[in-house]
Symmetry: C2
Subunit: 207 residues, 2 copies
DNA sequence: CTCCTTCCCTAACAAGTGTTTGGTAGGTTA
DNA sequence: TAACCTACCAAACACTTGTTAGGGAAGGAG
């Protein structure tokens, strides 16, 4: 027998990759099996349904994400530092779970209505609350602007970060931290040039 | 006989709505027919395939979008004014073609590889070029920052605008122009508060 | 009235779907 | 050696999918 206790994880990663590329519904179990190097029926030795694979992928992603987010929130940083930390952690998460994030982005909208995936709605509520309170704290403390609609700002920051999963490829030109830094600079300072504005120093690309 | 020369358009709008909500592959022709008030087979009197419906929806959207974009680009405005006009037109397009935009966002990634939808890749190229040159013009003219990666900035602005289709609902609290104004303010000036920063005046909501 | 066109229905089709069942090669344990 | 377990295959299952063929009701045109 070969080693293969991690064969399950291997298949799951393959499935995530295919789901992210083709969409969940457009992906057949035979396609997954092909990419993983076995036959369709054999998948059911490891998983009890296609839906279970999706469920496991999303749960693993959200669990890890919330572990990081909770650590940031528990540190009780200032609003600006909290925002910076959340954004940075988000990009790191995209770096580690790119496929899962892409799937979440594409499918969570209509999966939320299925009872089995109800936890997606719960997660989104927590998500929204964490960001909104951070933004409101910042507005109250005078570090963020107060002339913007907070919910609009929330969606702006949230989308800005997470859609990066659609184009980000690990091992690319910029590290997750570098991307986070530039994104934060844009979100916080804007892209327009102002007098005396030159706070951001470009880094050389890695390797 | 009832009037109904626009019955075709009616069905197509319904299809777009369902595609946007459930995803193209997850949508069955029976579901579309249900929502449109006829039986599945009857759809084939108006259209010759499910794929044709998708094709027609996306083409109509892109045609209208490019008509507006070309008008903006032909006006030869300054870089900042061009960016503002492009963003505003984009939000107007989301207002008019919300479903089509949402479909485009979700499906264009893997549709692009199909020969029939090759024009999606072409459109994206033109899209990218229009935004990149605007940003580069602005950087050269000293109205945009030069310390940011241009391609990163491009994706930032692009995604920021178009993902709004996932949450925007026409007839909501803010008009497209109002959303465009706040988004532009965030993108250009940033969300951080600075001394003497109070250029943006909040509008009262409509109605 | 009759003919014709428009728009839809009924009923079925073949292909593809997720999933199950029974079997089996080959290593591990006794 | 024999019993056992893991990880897979082969073949089929019931069902759903997009699509087609033939027919028919309703109104306009002659």
């Amino acid at each position: 027998m070969r080693p293969a206790p991690e064969r399950r994880r291997e298949i799951l990663d393959t499935a995530a990759e295919v789901f992210a590329a083709q969409g969940y519904d457009a992906t057949t179990v035979r396609r997954i099996a092909d990419a993983a190097g076995l036959l369709a029926g054999s998948l059911y030795y490891h998983f009890d349904s296609k839906e279970s694979m999706l469920d496991e992928i999303l749960r693993a992603f959200l669990d890890e994400l919330w572990a990081r987010y909770d650590a940031v929130l528990a540190a009780l940083l200032g609003p600006r530092e909290t925002l910076e930390a959340l954004v940075t952690e988000s990009f790191r998460e995209i770096d580690r779970h790119r496929a899962a994030v892409a799937i979440y982005q594409k499918e969570s909208g209509h999966l939320r209505e299925q009872p089995r995936f109800g936890y997606l709605a719960g997660s989104q509520r927590r998500f929204e609350e964490a960001w909104l309170t951070t933004l409101e704290r910042g507005a109250a403390a005078g570090v963020f602007r107060t002339d913007l609609d907070v919910r609009l700002t929330y969606r702006f920051v949230r989308d800005t970060v997470w859609v990066a999963a659609s184009w980000y490829r690990p091992g690319g030109q910029h590290s997750p931290e570098e991307i986070a830094r530039q994104y934060l600079s844009m979100v916080l300072e804007g892209v327009a040039l102002r007098d005396g504005h030159r706070t951001y120093e470009r880094r050389t690309k890695k390797e």
